[in-house]
Structure formats: C-alpha cells, structure tokens
Amino acid sequence: MSKIEQFSYDNATVKKFIIATVIFGVVGMLVGLIAALQLVFPAMNMGMAETTFGRIRPLHTNAAIFAFVGNGIFAGVYYSLQRLLKTRMFSDALSNIHFWGWQAIIAAAAITLPLGITSAKEYAELEWPIDIAIALVWVVFGINMFGTILKRRENHLYVAIWFYIATWVTVTVLHIGNNLELPVNMWKSYGVFAGVQDALVQWWYGHNAVAFFLTTPYLGLMYYFIPKAANRPVYSYKLSIIHFWALIFIYIWAGPHHLLYTSLPDWAQSLGMVFSLMLIAPSWGGMLNGLLTLRGAWDRVRRDPVLKFMVVAVTAYGMATLEGPMLSIKSVNAISHYTDWTIGHVHIGTLGWNGFLTFGMLYYLVPKMWGTKLYSTKLADTHFWIGTLGILFYAIPLYWAGWTQSLMWKEFLPEGILKYGNFLETVTQILPMYALRALGGTLYLGSVFVMIYNLMKTAGQGSFIPEEAAEAPARVVAASHKGEHWHRWIERRPVQMLVFSLIAVLIGGMVEIFPMLMIDDNVPKIASVKPYTPLELEGRDLYIREGCLGCHSQMIRPFRSETERYGEYSKSGEFIYDRPFLWGSKRTGPDLHRVGGKYPHSWHYNHMLEPTSTSPGSIMPPYPWLLEDDLDVSQTAAKIRTLQALGTPYPPRYDEIAVEDLQKQASQIAENLKKEGIEQEGLAQKEIIAIIAYLQRLGTDINPGPQAGN
C-alpha cells in the first residue's frame, strides 16, 4: 500500500462557474423571452437596430449554449474531475485564466452581436478575433484538464472523463474547421469555403456543437451526478463504454440532416440521414443507463429535488434523441424543416436536458459546497413543477405551429393553385401559438428565480468551503501485463484516449467533407452566375449584419409547393460566390432566393421603412436606420481584395474602381426610386440602396434579365 497523501479540492473555481452559470442562464433566457415576445408584439423590437430580432436571436442562442451551458459544463467538470481523479486541478492560475477568459469572451459576444458584428454561421457567429480568443481559452482548459489527468492518484479514468476528453478534442476540431476565414479588417472576415461547401462544413459544425457541447459533456455530468445524487453506482458500466464509443463515432456524421432537400448532393444527405437514425441506439443506451441507475430508488425521486430534475432531464434527452432521428428522415424533414417544429425540438433538449440537468447539479452542489442542507425542498419542488410546465407550454404550441404552418404551405386548391398563396396568412395563423410559447418561456424563466432565491438562502445559512480536504494513496502506475484488456490499457492512458477519440471523430468528418472539398471545380457551375457587384456585396453584408437569415431562408427545395410559391428550385451552382452561404434554417418570413425582380425598388424601400405598409399584419420589425444611415464604403476595396484572394474572379485591380462602380449602380437605383415616387435627400448614399441592390439580384442569375439598377 502506498503512502496516503493529503491534499484539497479547489471549490473556489467551481463556485465562480456556478455563479456565472446562474447569471448567464437568466440573461440567455431573458433575451430568448424578449425574442419570443417580439414575434407576438413587433413593437418589442424597440425601434433600435441593436434590439431587433435578427440581432438578438444569435445573442440568445450564444448566451444559452456557450454562456449558460458552457459555464455549467465547466462547473460540473471542475467539481467531478478532481474527485474522480483524487487530485486537485492541475493549476489554479490556469483555472482562473480559463474562468475569466471565458467570461471575457461572453462579454465580447454580448457587445458585438447586437452591433451586428457576425459571421452569420449559426452558433459560430462571433468574428475572427473572438474565435481566436475562444481557441486560446479552450486550450487553457485543455491543458488544465489533461494536466489534472496526468497528475491523478487514480489509475483508471471513469467514463465521465472520457466524455470530457471527447468533448475537448471534438470541439477543438469543429471550432477550427468551421472558422477558417480570411479577415477583411478587425471586425469582418470571409470564410474560405463558399456556397454548398460552406453549408456542409457549417452543419458538420452546427450539428456537432449540439453533440459535443450540449450532449457529450452533459452525459459525462450525468454519469457522475446521478450516481452521486442517488448514492448508487451507474446501472451498467459496460453499457456506458459501448455507448460512449458508438455515440462519438456516429454523431459526427449526422450533420447533413440539416440540409435535406437542399442543393447538397444526395449522397451526403443520405449519409446524414442513415447515421442520424443509427444515433437512436447509443443515445437511448445513455438514457436507459441514466434512468435505470435509479432502479429500486424511485421512492427517493419523489422526495429528492435533485433526482427529480435529473430524471426529467434524462427523459427529455431520450425524447429529443428519438425525435432528432425522426426529423432526419427525409419525408418527415420535408414537413418539419424551416418550421417551428425544429425550435420546439431544440428546446426539449436545451430546457429539458441541459437546463434541468444543470438545475439538478446546482441543487446538489450548493448545499455540498456550503456545508449545509438545501434551504427549502418545497421551493425546489415549486421550481421543478413550474419549470416542467414551462417546457410543455414552450414545446407543444411550437409543435402545433410547425405542423399547422407546414400543412398550410403545402395545401393546394383543386384548381392546382396554392390555397394560402400569401405567406403572411400562414404566419398570422400561428401567432396564438407564439403567444403560448412566450408564456412557456416566462414560466421557465420565472421558476429559475425561485431557484436563485433558494440557492442564495442555502448559501446564506451555510459557509462556503473553498478548499475541501481530501486524502488518497499516491498513484501506483501499474505495469501493463500480458492478456490485459485493450480498453483497460487505453483508459489508463489519457493521451492514447485523446488520440483514439480524435481518430473516431475525424473519420466521420473527413469522409463526409473531403469529397466536397476535393470537388471544388466540379460543383456544377452555371455560366451565367457572376460575382456580386460591390453594391450588392455591401447589401449582402448588411443583410448579414441585420441577421435577416434568422427568419428568411434562401434555399427553395424541389417541391411543387415551393416552386409554385417562390419559383425555380435552388441549384448548388448558384451559390459559388456566397461567402458565407445564407440558406438559413427557419422561415418566419418567406424564402428570398428568388425575390430578385419580384417587386419594384419602391416596394422594398417602403417595406423596410414600415413592413406593415406593404404587408398588413407582418411581424417583421421596421428598419428605418437603413434609410437614414449612409453606406460605409471605406472597406469595399478591402472586401474585394479579400474575396479575390479567396478565388472570386473579379478582374485584376478591380478593387481600385469598386467604389466608383458601386456609386454608379447606387445612383441608378436611386434614380429608379425617384421615378417610382420616393423622394429623399442623398438617397443614393443610403444603406437601403445596397440592400435593394442585393435583394433585386437574388436568384436572378440563372435567368439573366434586367438586373438591379438597370
């Protein structure tokens, strides 16, 4: 027996992450609630650019995922890692840098996103300097985690730690892969991939952000905190290992299910669908393992709020991971895609799985770390029931809204024309459901305040234990012996574990993405598709700044109901100059891919000034600042140069005359507007002109005719 060593666990860092989790939970949910209310009461957009739906929707998603769940992951990992390895974290300094670095990134996101500084890639909206900061802080976390693993006193790595390792490895790969971009200046960059390739890389990232940020670390937390709270070992350790390898291997392939029926090649779509269906097995393996851990202890679930939250969390995980594969079946996706069904699905995962598991963890940790008992079980129960009702009120109306709207989009009259030809009818129909969803969000957020009160009271009645004394024998490094199981060999060696996880996730990523990148010259090109003019390019960047893609898709699927409503279906060759691609994933408003030439310039002018003037009942916010602010052309030349460097075929030295060209096209549009009765001083210099130029260009290349400004 080796010598018993005395040491202590660092609770101070865990405490900081807990506080950040709670604060950013409230912030993220509050922003989400405001966004939900904006859909019912457009006045809630508050008439300011910074508070419009398009800009705060990414703020909500980023805050919920990376600030709330992110801090929750770190709190749980810093607590469980030390105890599972019987050692203190590798470095207090790194723990501090990690904590403050992550909060600084959140602050940067909270400032830049409302300012419209965004790369427009869902869940990766932050611009390149912040991307670099994220990478640095993530590496600090990695060093701290692997340092801790290396100095452990426990020979074997418990399955929770494998999930943490897989999370770290995969998030690193995803973050780098999806943020390869060339800067124009400090706050603007263009991605190295364009169009359909960009879409594939983005959703390879986007889906796996769900998989490896919202799922695998939380499974690790589940495997630690459920046995802890129930005071009994996990149901099947064997199952946890099989489910781990199957999950990380399969998850990475499933991304293309976000792009079904788009211009993505069929083979990639089928691959995404098949692997998504396969995901049911390892996902349910995890869910059953979590729930069955409580076998024989169900009476305690009734009494213990920690277990209550965890049971609903794991059940929500099971529901979401059954629903996900179902939504990945092409025929189901044909109905669900672009509708609120997806939003409902996602929130079962975030509110149920991530939210409730976090709350369960907090109810466990705070009394433990403050050396006391929970202040009030009754209040925790109240939180539980109001929160659960909140989830139901959130999700069910959105399922209803999704089905209703999708069926309305697809309904034809016997004469062969669309029954609801006016898109707006399908929006006003579901507004009551949006109102109910906002009620669900309010309940959920309200219940969180009950938790905050309860936890503060709990902390108040105890006293915080910053250093928890522990003792364990020094680690004896066991020599490998003949006939030992390969897996036991791996799990004693974290570095090999890292390499194996990396290989497992890279295989999927490579096979899917590699052919798409290799075929750069073979995406069927369309001769008439030309790069955007400087004015259209600036308009496109305004479209990105305002977050228009949060509500408008630019991808017409090859269904009769869509070609009838919007026009010819979208072809991959039309997007080769799109950096980033702007296909969108939700239609709160109609698709815009063929909006070019559909309305006169003046329609767009009036529509941006006051959407209800052209579309009575519209819930789109007004954009008066586009009519007031002058277009910034100081970066136009630099943008052209950056795009040229990425391969967009502008003529040599075009950057020198780009602004001149831009002004020419702008005056033509302003002239046209004047003819249509729009009088405004200095109109040709305004941002609205660029937006009009871009919108009028959209989708017109395959059918060259009179273009914007002509």
Partner: protein, 59 residues
C-alpha cells in the same frame, strides 16, 4: 451528375468502407471485451463517483 462529382473526386470508396469497418470493429470489440470483463473491475469502476476521498467522507 453526383456520380460524376464522386468519380472526379478520385477513388474515395475505400474511405466509406474503411469507416464502416472501423466502426463495426470498434463496436464489436468494445462490446465483446466489455462482456468478458471481470466483475470486480466493473464494480470498482462503477463505484468510482461514490468515493470522493474527502476526509469528511472517510469519517
């Protein structure tokens, strides 16, 4: 058309087959080895979260 895209990307069939085989092997090996693991080791691993090694928990 997609056939043409795949054909011009070079011979990538091996990648799909390699991936399938890797997954299949990984799954089968991990399942089989887990099945034959000693119960003592499995018990030790599954009880790991329950022992904090804090001096408090040892009392």
């Amino acid at each position: 058309m997609f056939k043409h895209i795949l054909a011009s990307a070079g011979d990538i069939n091996w990648m799909a087959i390699f991936a399938l085989l890797t997954f299949f092997l990984l799954f089968v090996i991990s399942a089989v080895t887990m099945f034959f693991k000693k119960q003592g080791f499995i018990d030790k691993m599954s009880n790991m979260p329950l022992d904090d090694a804090t001096t408090e928990s040892k009392k």
